[in-house]
Symmetry: C3
Subunit: 345 residues, 3 copies
């Protein structure tokens, strides 16, 4: 079903292979009518007997009962409702299992290693084994690039930057004053390491404060197109391993983001704020500077956060408050505004 210009499919895989690749366990339901070779992934309502699918949300149980999929990742409790002809793969996290098998069918495209003679690589740059450097890429002196890393067309790797192995640096992306781990994906026109916005302000002009830190990005981070991460003032700006940052996000100097955080598109994080492990920041959230957002905290989209948020808490609104209080404020204001009559004015 995919456009063959852009995607090529691996497989087919047997049920045993799929179980092994995903950590799911096969539920033996005694029927003999089952498929045992699977050639693609598909949603519940579109899957055929050669497809594998998943059920993750109780909302879709009806689709599950009617599905023609050859196999399905499900939680154990849904076994009784499965169609007879469907193979069952039991998982505590069916969507995660599905993601893994989808990756097996459609591994991320990887260009053949080559170094374009139309790239611009300085003499002292150290380029690892089996790298791909596209035309127009600029790689300055004293840079280090690990094995199998891809540098996209017209990307810019400025003086002294270090990039790990198996990274993918998108076209037009600019890097300076940064240290990047392994398996990091930077999409396109990302900007990492420019000066932070630091000035000694004054009526007669603002004096720039030299920004003397770096950006440190750990392993397995992914950063979306157009996102900007300023370098630290002296301390570093830091993005912990496994964190995923969407497009057009702004991250100020000295910000510290923990591991496995999620930062959705167009978020802005002001200088020196710390975001804990596994926190989730919804789209267009704004954080003031010098705050602490606890591990596992969740901020609703468009929140304007002006104070610390405890670990595990859910906040929303602007100024942001605990999410129940925000909902209560919204309801209160709605009711009061409907009660008002002209004579109240």
């Amino acid at each position: 079903m995919v456009d063959a210009r852009f995607y090529s499919r691996k497989g087919p895989f047997t049920l045993a292979e799929i179980a092994s690749l995903t950590g799911a366990s096969i539920y033996e339901n005694g029927s003999s009518a089952h498929a045992n070779s699977f050639s693609d992934v598909a949603p519940l309502d579109k899957a055929s007997t050669s497809d594998i699918t998943f059920l993750d949300n109780v909302k879709y149980v009806e689709n599950f009962r009617a599905s023609k999929a050859g196999a399905c990742f499900i939680r154990e409790k849904f076994i009784p409702q499965a169609p007879l002809a469907m193979q069952l793969l039991i998982s505590d996290d069916p969507y995660r299992a599905y993601a893994k098998i989808a990756q097996a069918f459609y591994p991320a495209a990887k260009p053949n290693p080559f170094i374009s003679d139309k790239s611009n690589i300085a003499k002292s740059a150290s380029i690892g084994k089996d790298c791909t450097i596209f035309p127009g890429a600029f790689i300055d002196e004293q840079t280090i690039i690990g094995d199998r890393t891809v540098i996209g067309p017209n990307a810019i790797v400025s003086y002294g930057t270090t990039i790990g192995s198996d990274c993918n640096i998108g076209g037009g992306t600019t890097l300076s004053h940064c240290i990047i781990g392994n398996r990091v994906v930077l999409h396109r026109n990302v900007n990492i390491g420019q000066d932070g916005f630091g000035f000694a302000m004054g009526k007669d002009g603002h004096v720039k404060v030299p920004q003397l830190g770096r950006v440190v990005i750990e392993d397995d981070v992914e950063i979306g197109s157009g996102t900007c991460i300023d370098r630290g003032t002296g301390p570093d700006t830091f993005i912990g391993s496994g964190s995923k940052i969407d497009n057009l996000v702004q991250i100020g100097h000295n910000v510290h983001i923990g591991r496995n955080a999620i930062v959705v598109s167009q978020v802005g994080i002001s200088g020196s704020t710390r975001v804990g492990d596994g926190a989730v920041l919804g789209g267009q959230v704004g954080l003031a500077g010098h705050l602490r957002i606890g591990a596992g905290a969740k901020l609703a989209a468009k929140s304007g956060v002006m104070s610390d948020v405890p670990p595990g808490a859910s906040y929303g609104g602007s100024p942001a408050v605990p999410i129940k209080d925000w909902h209560r404020q919204t309801v209160t204001l709605t009711k009061l505004s409907h009660k008002r009559r002209p004579e109240d004015d």
Copy 2:
């Protein structure tokens, strides 16, 4: 009046030519003092007898009565208030007529066709007639580019991308996994077709869900600088013909935008949301995922939309509500906060 370094003017045009180019009708008012050759466009208060202008808003009737413009696009009802020496062009939509004649005086600059030998064009790329390919542009294998299309400096057209005729792709723009129609304008450092932000989230790390769709952009779409449009997960992300998208907008995977929609700067549209034909989204609006915004709906700037919006409705606020309710909430809160006294606390 324009800076001749940047703009060159066509013309002059006669009144009959102007009427023909814009669909306006000439009102014969019997005076003989009229100009009949027009060499430029200008606003009401700056126009001279050789200029053509327009009246679109009743606020400017005084300027109209005092204007020295040689000709003016107006609605019929304003005829009695016109200066005697002014030629009148009657139109139901004077601003639209003005836009058309301004285009005639100042057609969009178009470089002479040439293909720079400092561009990087793969062997299997198919380049149409009379294209312009600037230095540093990277055009990968299996791409198709229509006639008279311009590819700006350092733009990136990745594997398999198809672009129609008479398009203008700005400098530094990156394209992949997309199909683009005719007469499409992409400004600069636009990013189309990167992976959507799709992960099976988990405490021990987030697993990427392969993004297997495309971005389909129909004819006559215009997209502003820095805007990002993610490709679909399996379905496509879709932008309907004639829609205009401003700078720094984020459009998530599987979003479907109808025809002739207007999306102002810094809007964010979450995954799988559908925006109907002719809808207008004000600046910095945020839309949650999986919503339906009806045809012709209008969303005030900075709205945070968390539920469907009916066709033709106007909404505002965050969470967004019908615009009258939003205004009522604002007034209610203002009044209540002014009524409060210390002893209320």
Copy 3:
């Protein structure tokens, strides 16, 4: 303490040199135990006897009293609390003095002048003395670039653009239809001079209104990565001298920003709005079109401004109101929502 890959330090400086460079005055406190040569800057709590630091905020007086710094910029009133072994430099604006000396220790890196033979410079371009033009930069016909200006890798300077002396144009930045002063810093993937978002809207399609103005940027302006500034419709878009604009800001056509304004990240300014000298716009602020923001006005982060703001006023909220009113609204809504009980519904 800095990473020597990225920064190199000048100095040391004597106390007299530091006073002279910053305009601070030396306070003779009679002790003989003082250092007189300083080799670095550091914060109060990390400084050693060879470092210079500053005290700007009364919150840090305890750190000041305990600091081991060899010298410190302070306001006169803090003299009595200084450690005995510390040299004192008296200044009305200690942070500004600190910024100046930090610049002396760490001047902005400046590449050696060179013009890459992998850049693309048109024949009629005029390039000043001692410029640096990186590989992949595209400099079109009829452009003028002043002395000692740096054009980053893959930057695009389109037809007719004028850039002053001592500017730094970042990698991937695109410029057209603009006139840029001296000592201007544009970070990376900045987009200046594209068409504004101007259409005569209609149900059957939107007609583009030619954008016939320019962007004029005065001296000493700094503009962050990813920021977009549209050119004027006929009048110019204007950024006054000394103004500092952060990353991912959107500035619409005909906007006029005065001198020494501060515009924080992700702000959006709609067409024809005027921002006065020294105004400060917090992160993610949105301004409607055709407004006047007075000189020295302050807009809290995330404000949605729909009406004029007087000079010197502080506003917040959305719709924005005087900041005291906004705080009162927030308090009122919080209290009312906590008072509500189920029987109120």
